[in-house]
């Protein structure tokens, strides 16, 4: 009797272990997708539940904080890691992804499955998918369209006393700035101003040094001043272009914006810090990516508090490109499954859901839909911006090109060391060294 009882107890103890072993053996197929940790990534998790429901393929996600995103992902690729089957890589990685064999070339797969790149916005295909640039070699499907834009405190702008004071001071209406000059007038107008008994500041600008922050900020001004990275006739020759007088002026202007409009302590700020400064009511303007606007607009249903606008023009109209494409990692053992996900994601109905959930679709059916412009307060700005975007170098060695840009811009703009021309010359010198080592110069 005792023996039977003991057997029962042992069976009960062992049962869960056997169950676990059995469940492991019949575990569904799964994919792991890597991206940065931010709002759109959460939207993608939601969206991907439908993929799992349709195919039975489990989706796992690994999201990395923006400041470590490039380090983590690029190290993974350089080490030929198998952690990720799908990677949502930054636009600048496409060159390295293609040349170093990290990303699977998708042309054959697209042809086989009838996925046409013509269905996606031209600017995003160019920016997120192709290498060499403008060729028809595709290494990613545009996943998240994005550009640097601005949010402003519409409720402050609508105050009659502030409006009249601004007009009497500057001779034009306080409203959405059309140029960087106007932006400076407005942000300096709010700097140190007391509103509702609290001291406010002008603008939360990108000044972060460690990853890409200050570059993504200052280039918003540089592009508007008509900056070119290189001589269009002599690739990789930047002298005379990247350090041209208009570019020097743009960098000096950004420094002036930082000095005249930033809240105290905003010397190493990027996406999160700008959002915090804005949402806590410290600043009248924030520069940030469109990706964050759904979150900003969420708490402002009637659109009274916040307004959005595309990067202001100066000599030309241009905006800093953000956003990412989704690629199949060449070292994955599940490339077929990963392609299945991309095939599903490219479907127009999925793309529409992606936009509805807060992701920025690049599909022409979504962007061209008559309802699109009215679907969100920032939708028109997004469309305008995506037509004028410019990106940093997308060369395989882009990190080596980015580091001197970060260091020299931060040194001049935040630290006040040297001159804008000197900083640009230093950057060119370091870029030339990189291109020479690669035999491109």
């Amino acid at each position: 009797m005792e023996e039977i009882k003991m057997k029962k107890i042992i069976s009960l103890i062992l049962l869960p272990f056997f169950a676990l072993m059995f469940s492991t053996n019949v575990k569904a197929e799964s994919l792991t997708l890597g991206w940065a940790a931010w709002d759109p990534a959460n939207a993608l998790v939601e969206l991907s539940k439908e993929f799992t429901a349709e195919t039975g393929i489990e989706m796992n996600f690994e999201f990395v904080d923006w400041t470590s995103y490039a380090d983590r992902m690029l190290n993974e690729l350089n080490n030929k890691g198998k952690t990720f089957d799908l990677l949502v890589g930054d636009s600048q990685w496409i060159g390295g992804g293609a040349v170093n064999g990290h990303y699977l070339k998708l042309n054959d797969f697209f042809d086989r499955e009838g996925i046409s790149m013509n269905d996606f916005s031209d600017a995003t295909v160019y920016a997120y998918s192709t290498w060499p640039k403008g060729s028809e070699n595709y290494y990613a499907l545009p996943l998240m369209g994005d550009a640097l834009a601005w949010a402003y405190r519409k409720d402050w702008f609508d105050r009659p006393e502030l409006k009249s004071e601004f007009k009497s001071k500057h001779g034009y209406d306080l409203g959405v700035p059309k140029t960087w000059g106007e932006l400076h007038d407005m942000c300096s107008f709010f700097q140190g101003r007391e509103i509702d008994g609290v001291v406010r500041y002008g603008a939360a600008l990108n000044t972060e040094r460690g990853s890409e922050g200050i570059t993504m900020g200052v280039t918003a001004a540089m592009y508007a001043w008509g900056m070119e990275y290189e001589d269009p006739n002599k690739p990789y020759h930047s002298d005379g272009f990247f350090n041209a007088p208009n570019v020097v002026e743009a960098v000096e202007f950004y420094k002036k914006m930082y000095e005249d409009c930033s809240p105290p302590g905003h010397s190493n700020a990027y996406m999160g810090e700008n959002l915090d400064a804005y949402s806590s009511g410290q600043v009248a303007f924030q520069m940030n990516w469109y990706a964050f606007w759904p979150g900003v607009a969420k708490g402002d249903k009637d659109g009274r508090v916040t307004g959005f606008f595309a990067n202001p023009c100066q000599e030309i109209c241009a905006a800093t490109l953000g956003g990412q494409g989704i690629s199949v990692v060449n070292y994955s053992d599940k490339k077929e499954l990963a392609q299945q996900y991309i095939k599903w994601f490219a479907r127009p109905d999925v793309q529409q859901k992606w936009w509805d959930l807060g992701g920025y679709s690049c599909h022409k059916d979504v962007l061209g839909s008559p309802d699109f412009v009215n679907s969100a307060v920032y939708a028109q700005g997004f469309l305008d911006s995506m037509g004028i975007v410019k990106d940093f170098w997308q060369e395989p060695s882009f990190v080596e090109l980015l580091i001197p840009m970060q260091e020299n811009m931060h040194d001049y703009i935040v630290n006040g060391k040297g001159s804008a021309k000197g900083a640009l010359d230093n950057i060119i010198e370091e870029w030339e060294e990189v291109f020479e080592s690669e035999g491109k110069l």
Binding site: R209, P264, S267, N268, E407, N408, H410, V414, N415, G416
Partner: protein
């Protein structure tokens, strides 16, 4: 019979000794000596760890010339030297002062010692993060305390090129002074009481007792603390990385941080190996000279 004895003896004492230390030696060779030799070999090449398909060329001493001739590298060396000089000086002075204070017997001595020692038990990364908040010009406690004594207005310790190098010195001093204090305290407690009694009999003043008894007795301990802290601060990375990330500009970018950027962000493996070798030789050279000086002082 003799044969039997030898047989039963088995391995000699020397052989057994070698057998015991062999695993350690093998491990050391594998994880210390081999990477060092490999790095030295790499330092003469143009190897990039992220471009494995690229042909690796021997470039001779080019990497060394490049590093030693680069103004930016010397700037980083200067920044590191500034950081080391001030942190070590302050830690020695404050550490010794605190040790002298805690060497006296008073109520709450033990509690005070434990409290003072707390900062060095924290993780440097955590210290970096919370001092970032303390330095915040709008809500930081540090700004508030400074302005309480004299109204400087809003100042940004981490955003100003003039203040940021001092910001990291303050944090490192706050964190590691307890370490020098503990070592000094150990030194002070090892001084026999009869020396002071004899000095009292000879009517030596307190100052004379400090100069002729306390300081010479505690000096070897101080030098040891200086050696440990010197080596640590030459390699300083985590706390400063969290606090300033090397900024503003490159005003607080220490050599170790710069080396990390070259090696694991730009992936210039050959170049950064040469850089690492130069740093290794520097610290090794200084360390050796220092130990010799320290031994001479001890022998006196």
């Amino acid at each position: 019979m003799k044969k039997l004895v030898i047989k039963s003896k088995g391995l000699s004492d020397k052989a057994i000794g070698w057998l015991f230390i062999a695993p350690t030696i093998i491990l050391l060779l594998l994880i210390n000596v081999y990477p060092l030799i490999y790095a030295i070999r790499m330092s003469f090449t143009n190897f990039y760890a992220n471009k494995l398909t690229q042909v690796v060329k021997n470039v001779g001493l080019k990497n060394y010339y490049k590093i030693l001739g680069k103004e930016a590298i010397w700037e980083k060396m200067q920044i590191t030297a500034h950081f080391m000089f001030w942190t070590l000086s302050l830690q020695i002075i404050i550490g010794l002062s605190l040790a002298l204070l805690l060497n006296k017997k008073f109520k709450g001595n033990e509690l005070l010692t434990t409290t003072i020692v707390l900062p060095m038990m924290l993780s440097p990364a955590v210290v970096g993060v919370f001092w970032g908040y303390l330095y915040n010009p709008q809500v930081g406690l540090f700004t508030y305390i400074v302005n309480f004594f004299y109204d400087f207005g809003s100042f940004d310790m981490l955003g100003s090129g003039t203040l940021a190098p001092w910001a990291i010195v303050i944090v490192d001093t706050w964190m590691w002074t307890p370490f020098t204090m503990l070592i000094c305290l150990a030194g002070l407690r090892s001084i026999p009481g009869y020396l002071y009694e004899a000095a009292e009999v000879d009517r030596a003043s307190k100052w004379q007792q400090f100069v002729y008894i306390t300081l010479p007795s505690v000096l070897p301990f101080l030098l040891l603390a200086l050696l440990f802290r010197g080596i640590e601060n030459f390699k300083m990375f985590d706390m400063v990385m969290e606090l300033t990330g090397g900024g503003p500009g490159s005003m607080t970018e220490l050599t170790s941080m710069n080396l990390k950027r070259e090696a694991f962000e730009k992936w210039k493996t050959g170049y950064s190996s040469a850089y690492a070798v130069i740093l290794f030789v520097t610290i090794f050279g200084f360390g050796n000279v220092y130990v010799k000086v320290m031994n001479k002082i001890k022998d006196r």
